[in-house]
Symmetry: D2
Subunit: 345 residues, 4 copies
């Protein structure tokens, strides 16, 4: 492993530290690596070492290139300085993808507390969006103004380009109320964005990885707290893919949980979405008509499925619904073909 | 282990199955056991076996007495029938605490999907409240009306007597939208109630324990899903206490995360709560006054802590705040004494 | 789940308790289940309840039919009574495979301490061999005579029909010295038998599952001890296969780690084994000869691989060795064909 | 974290890479750290990068200072060159304990395959013994001569100064037969040395941490394999102590499992050991005599415990035995006092 430390902004004391793993050679099939950009917390007053190196290690072990951004704090913390620092760092990381042997479209951001605010801002407001975001006891709501008066609420900024998110926090955090994480989940859910979240029963603010060399073992704390580390790695493998003999495997989890946020309709859209589109509705109604006819002709008796009976499952993907009512494959393909030409507005 | 099956309501086909473990003898220090009441799901159309026995097993292994309630479904599902069934079961369990060697004040309820709705109703609306509730991909909002038109929304029913809750679900559940769990967390947070929650990135509705003998291994599913089983047991130990040589140990997690819901003020209340109470505010202001004086007299210089500087931490327990600013112990005790006589309205 | 209790031997007070799970219906693709036969410990003086029901639960959760044998103890403990009890139980289980919806060729045995001795005897000396054996802090050597003078050493009985074994124990067990497990592993290794083993740093004899309701939490004990429970289930899935949509999946681990114990040679045999067989050696020498010729003819230059250079890897399967030196597939198939006709003596 | 790379031997290309974590400041109570010295494998032909950095990361995350020794290989591999390299590295690490803020008496060594041989040699033959040793699929027997003709068997070198060991391997390793680990465990057991060991059912040689970026996920491998990483950290905390607010906590596991290897007798010795010492035997016989008398005088009836009845538990610590038969505390203290003056030969 080699280390590089770059000064991004001399005046504001902004630095980017890179921990770079080798590729190929003894790492054979590994030619590039996904990457993680770490944003330590510290209430925009400092960048905590507790949430820097110790956080880098598990991702390095998992084979990720890791970068730590020490962004503008104290007198330089005024918005949008920290976000500009992020943009600069992310641009640099992606521009140097070849040199640093990383996948420019597989760069996750992880932030804690105020750093979690910055990570959430990156996920919702930046130009250079990350490909996944991990938010640790992050102050994502306007609560952030308690430590940085100029920093914006990010919950209201969640948009359809927001990447999949992984949130963790403790229920009884006295510094960043748990409502921050709840509000963010709600915004993601409304936007159809993929996420995972773990709210642990109890533990202090700022536990970092929860390792005993960081968070004193005498403090009351759920023993499940440290699970977020391997869990977040398992989740990154789902969202960015895993190392395979021929490059990274396909992600198991997409950015949105349904096709409802794509440009054109598809059988990955929810039944409700398709039915709310007049042309989409026509495709489904005709399908039901055809099924009825075929059933009658073949003497199978009546088809009981109606638009009304399906309405109870308006959140289900059409694909899964068609599977449940055993629509023949050629009919599914015909519908997919027609839907793919209907703009999803 | 012995099994008892009791008919609670012949007409509505309501039964309670008890799996009862031995105590004492070779289980020496175990004289009574905590208990779990399982409420299987099934859309109020049936009670699924997938969420009955397989769910009982891990709690039996952990040393709990386990009961499975098969409540009113189909034509008998009209509200409040299922809740009445629950009340009857919980009453029976507690009345037979001696015979069944269980702690009547350590009975948790666990429900899945529609059974999760019933568990949430038990936690928020019942007369015989459970001591903890585990809600698995539970339909707790008015979404429940999709499967049982007469069943009530439970989110709006969360009250100060609601027990600690453990929630789990998958982000892409197509049958019970994840918003159900989010709304319930929000209601619990507002009420100061303890909880833990795990929203996994993806998995089908109805995965039960996630074991391969229940949920087909070919279905796309986060591999973290099964963690809810040991995690819920770890959480129950925090909320109900763990087996110790001299009875159950003290719980590590209380019903509310602060003292704000108690009858009288205390240093367990948040700073914000105490300051919003005129008499409470007086106690704090006088404390600051005394500290200033003492500091001046002892020549230590000015005390910088003011009501205003503390206001940023309005969610912090007074106890922890006093610890951070090193208030002497006798002063803490004096404050505790005065606060304990101020009604918390 | 239904429970059956059968008396196997009235006089000796031998009973078999069956915990039987449902199949099909809501368990759809599950038509039969693998099974586990539990042999509690107790120094052949009694059958401990601590190692009966609590052990049954995790296997029931994993979808196994579970049987608990309370075998001959005290005045009836003289050998071969306990082994006869085992034979009777295993015969009954397999004869009732249809009725109890289990796979007769997927029945594992699990024993603890003296029950682990009986499980080891079952695995090495019985007529009705189990398909897998889990040995918990088992007294498998002649140390058993300390509690049952007539009971035999089982280490010396390990034979080529011994099933795969999973062993666990603690290093500082003061009742059954760890050397018992080491000697058994050694015997299995010599016989080429598959096994897994976990020796934990410290913990008392008789911890069972290590759950706090069985083993007092105040006793010094490695916190990894309880891992044997899920680990043994993961291992059983490798050895017996896992639940799949179309019956159980193929085992990932075979009874022997190489083909050296099969009736005829194959490329699954170790290089050493094949070379020690005159006819087998000829197959390999001719293969090398052919490779040399082909290489010379094709102008690829010399083939450097010789019988001597391969000798350093006498424990490697020929299959893997051929893969490393890139032997063409048709040549591999030709060798496999010839080897399959050479008796392995 | 800062990195230092030191050349230990220019000619033989021996280097020591140090990954050094900060202390104090934000790491408050952490003033020094335990350390791990990594010895990569590679058949004494090279030092594999697969077993260098990826292995360092989890220990860095756990708060350890980590050193990687690239020792003498190829033409320089002749014994005792590699062991000399180790001695030099360990001396340097301990001499710089202040500068590198580590505990000189809490330095573990971890080695893989041939590096595991070197780690075993360090644990058994070196002048500068490590405080704990982790041996991964290590070639510890004379099998090592297959890759380094001059390297010694280490099994026969296990002595009473050998530190606690943690071993892991796979049952079907075709390069380093599992018998290596078994023989080493046996030698440790005979010497009374503490150890933990995990033999996984199957997996290839050289899997390192088992992470997908190192060991291709398409290779057949027990999914428990990666557990050795957190398990070894848990074990190190038992053997070296854990981070506490006031320095490291006391170890839960001592170097020897009983007092039998100490200079003088104690109640931590096994009953067998004490009885085999004429003076020790006298202490026990007199104790029994006294107990009998006291029982008779107090009218409690006969004391049934005899030297003969206790003989069955010759592996039990006297301390535990006295606890079981309820010997009064003052008598225990008197015995402890007398035993402590009897040399243990």
């Amino acid at each position: 492993m080699r280390t590089e430390k770059m000064v991004l902004n001399q005046e504001r004391n902004v630095t980017l530290t890179a921990y770079l793993l080798e590729v190929e050679g003894e790492f054979g099939y590994v030619r590039r690596r996904p990457a993680v950009l770490v944003l330590p917390g510290g209430g925009y007053r400092h960048c905590s070492d507790r949430e820097a190196d110790p956080v880098a290690m598990p991702y390095l072990q998992a084979g990720y290139q890791v970068f730590i951004l020490r962004y503008s704090v104290k007198e330089y913390a005024a918005w949008p300085n920290p976000l500009e620092d992020y943009e600069q760092a992310m641009t640099l990381i992606r521009e140097n993808a070849d040199k640093w042997t990383l996948f420019p479209d597989k760069v996750a951001v992880i932030g804690f507390s105020a750093g979690g605010h910055l990570a959430a801002a990156a996920a919702t407001m930046s130009v250079n969006r990350p490909n996944a975001a991990i938010l640790g006891y992050a102050v994502v709501s306007s609560d952030v103004k308690g430590c940085n008066a100029t920093a914006p609420d990010t919950v209201s900024q969640v948009d359809k380009d927001t990447c999949p998110c992984f949130l963790f926090a403790t229920r009884n955090d006295e510094v960043v109320p748990v409502m921050n994480s709840i509000r963010f989940m709600e915004a993601l859910a409304k936007m159809g964005t993929s996420f995972e979240s773990h709210i642990y029963s109890h533990g202090p603010h700022g536990f970092s990885t929860g390792d005993t060399s960081i968070q004193c073992r005498d403090v009351a704390m759920s023993c499940r707290i440290s699970d977020w580390v391997p869990d977040s790695i398992g989740w990154l493998k789902e969202v960015l893919g895993d190392f395979g003999e021929n490059g990274m495997t396909s992600p198991a989890v997409e950015g949105h949980v349904t096709g409802d946020w794509k440009e054109f309709l598809s059988i990955e859209c929810t039944f409700g979405r398709i039915m709310s589109n007049p042309e989409g509705r026509k495709v489904i109604e005709e399908m039901l008509e055809t099924m009825k006819k075929q059933a009658e002709e073949s003497g199978q008796g009546k088809v009981e499925v109606t638009v009304e009976s399906m309405a109870a499952f308006s959140d289900m993907k059409l694909k899964n619904m068609l599977g449940h009512v055993s629509v023949p494959e050629d009919m599914v393909r015909a519908m997919e073909d027609r839907l793919s030409r209907i703009p999803n507005l």
